[in-house]
Symmetry: C2
Subunit: 216 residues, 2 copies
Amino acid sequence: MVKATATRPYHHGDLRQSLIDAACKHLLESGADTLSLRALAREVGVSQTAPYRHFESKSALFRAIALYGFELLLDEMSQVATEYEDDLEQSIVEIGMAYVDFARRNPEKYQLFFDSSLVDFKESDELVEASNAAFGVLTTVIQRGIDGGVFVDRPLLEVAGALWSGIHGAASLLLSKAPAIEDVHKTSPAVMVMRQLSEDPRPTIELFLNTIRKPC
Amino acid sequence: MVKATATRPYHHGDLRQSLIDAACKHLLESGADTLSLRALAREVGVSQTAPYRHFESKSALFRAIALYGFELLLDEMSQVATEYEDDLEQSIVEIGMAYVDFARRNPEKYQLFFDSSLVDFKESDELVEASNAAFGVLTTVIQRGIDGGVFVDRPLLEVAGALWSGIHGAASLLLSKAPAIEDVHKTSPAVMVMRQLSEDPRPTIELFLNTIRKPC
DNA sequence: ATTCGATGTAAGCAATGTCAACATAAGGTA
DNA sequence: TACCTTATGTTGACATTGCTTACATCGAAT
């Protein structure tokens, strides 16, 4: 057993992950523009420069969080993909649901994926590979559907683009308007659309499926 | 005629709009996280605190830019809507094109629309109204299509949500990966999808139309 | 037991957002 | 004309930030 209360040990023990966790918590509660490395250090109980032993800069921290996020996303998407691999249409819907669901459960990570002023993919090949891997789950299923004559006979890139746009758009809208949705008295069309999407994204995602269904 | 070069006049003349323009330029070139009010003031040639006579804070500046952006977007969307008002299906496609096109021509403004950590709609009713007005152009056309039996017979909110997700998603992807697209040698699926979308968004937007077409 | 690499600290610089107090211009009112 | 008010701009200052440089401490391998 370790004496934790007596005198704080010189070494933190798991500073890197603690910083990531604290950063995620802050992103979730207050947003990226108010996040400061110094404040994180304080919260975790180390000096203001200790974080620099683990992240060469603030944006490197963001990149690390995004990478972590892509790994989680890949896990969840591929799990669903294997689960439904014998029904291509259903597979698309479920992958879409998993994608949107991930974004809602990890908004702070998801937002980093697409905020180019916070995360610069050019700085990290790992990041590029991880995002490609996640996206690959979707394109693989689509390709199988096209090859098997189940989906519309259009170029993969076109179809994948449309589907990705749809599910990313739904996720992005949900996150951007999250506070407004909770305001019960707001009845503007935009908010109501979001509330509908928020309560049950499935019908919307099923509509996306029309995008790639073979015309009858 | 005003002596501009001799001694800079005490009053700038059009500081408010100059700051907005300078801010947009910076957002476009460097992103939001590096934007500083002091630097803007310097660039425009006034003291570091002069901007506070026009914007009570940095985020108030962002809100002003977003508002300006929504007004521009509304103009462009409603112009297209009237132009194609006698063909509902085509109207949807053209509004979608106008929307995506706006985002590409004004990425710095469009990004503010959806970055809740930069622009807080709760701080500005004007902003809420302006965004509702723009979104209203889309919902109006959809409602007409549903009423006229041209579009799928589903709740407006569901259909509008799906279409908005699609076009917003396409716009958002294009902006987030803009730098990668220009990298000619990148051949990852994600980048290639974006490149395809970037060269001609029309096929993708036409696919979105399937989302709401009456099943045959 | 010593050395060395990994990890953490202390002190400091330049830059930032924003506040308070003061200066200047321009226009209407006396 | 003289005055006063309001809008606009300036100076100076404070707390906070990202990040650098130089130094301290630990644990593990030799």
